[in-house]
Subunit: 151 residues, 2 copies
C-alpha cells in the first residue's frame, strides 16, 4: 500500500490528515521494520520539536485498528509497530536485537486442520505467528539484545 492510499483510507474513515499523522505513516513506510512508540517519537521529534508522545500512541492505535499497522510483542513490555504488508498476509522473522524483520510468506493457518477447530466450536478472532532470533547482522555482533530477558 502506498502512502497516498493509506492517507486516503484515513480520510475515508473520517480521520483528518495532519502533518504529524503523515510523518508517522511515512516514517513507518520508510523504515519498514518494527518500531516502538519511543523509536517513532525519537525520529520525528527533530522536525516536530513539540510532538507529544500521546500523539504517537493515539495514531499507532488508530492505524492498527484500520489494519494499516500490526503490533508485536517482543516480550519486553513495549509494543512494536510496523506497516502491514499489502499483498496479503505475511509473518516475520524478527530480530530481538535491532528489531529488523524479514518477511515470510507463510501462515500457519494454511496448514492447520480447521475441521478440528470447528469441531471444538472455537471462533477464531486473530492469531500470532512470529519467529524471534538474531538477524544475520546481529548474530555476529556481541552485546546484550534489547529485548532479551533470559539470564
Amino acid at each position: 500500500m502506498k502512502l497516498q492510499e493509506i492517507l486516503a483510507k484515513l480520510k475515508d474513515c473520517g480521520y483528518k490528515i495532519t502533518p504529524q499523522r503523515q510523518e508517522i505513516v511515512s516514517l513507518l513506510m520508510r523504515e519498514n521494520r518494527h518500531m516502538t512508540v519511543e523509536d517513532i517519537y525519537g525520529k520525528i521529534a527533530d522536525r516536530y520539536p513539540n510532538l507529544s508522545l500521546d500523539t504517537v500512541y493515539r495514531n499507532v492505535g488508530i492505524l492498527e485498528r484500520l489494519n494499516i499497522l500490526t503490533k508485536s510483542d517482543f516480550g519486553d513490555g513495549k509494543g512494536r509497530y510496523r506497516i502491514k504488508e499489502s499483498d496479503g498476509h505475511r509473518h516475520h522473522l524478527i530480530c530481538l536485537k535491532c528489531g529488523c524483520s524479514e518477511e515470510m510468506d507463510f501462515c500457519p493457518l494454511d496448514y492447520i486442520d480447521h475441521r478440528e477447530i470447528k469441531d471444538k466450536n472455537f471462533s477464531i478472532k486473530k492469531h500470532n505467528f512470529e519467529i524471534f532470533g538474531y538477524c544475520s547482522e546481529c548474530v555476529q555482533k556481541e552485546g546484550q539484545p534489547v529485548a532479551e530477558r533470559n539470564k
Copy 2:
C-alpha cells in the same frame, strides 16, 4: 510433568522449595490455563494473607526461565502464564474472554521451510504461535471480552 518433578527441578537449579512457591506451582497445575499474576495472587491470598504480589512475579519469572511456564500476551498489557506441556511442544487456542486454552498438537515450525531461514542466516531463538478467539462456552455468552481492544 508432575508437581514433584517440578519441585525437583527447582531444587536442582538451586532454588528453595518454599510454601508460596509450591502453592503457585500447584495452583497453575490445577487450573491448567492462562492466568495473570493477579489471578494467581487472588487465588492464593486466601491461604496466605500476607502474600506479596512481588513474590508471584518473582516466581513466575523463575518458572518461565526454567521452562516450566510459558508466558502469553493477550494484547491487554498483562502477562499470562500457564504450565507448559511436558510431552513436547504444543500451541494453544486461547479464549479472549475466559482465558481457557485448548491444546493444539501443531507447531508451525514443522511446516516451515527451514532452508530458507538458514539461507537468510537468521538464528532462531523462540517463536510464538497462538490463536485467539472465543471458546465454545464464551462464544454464546454476551458481554465484552476482557482483552478486547478493537472498538
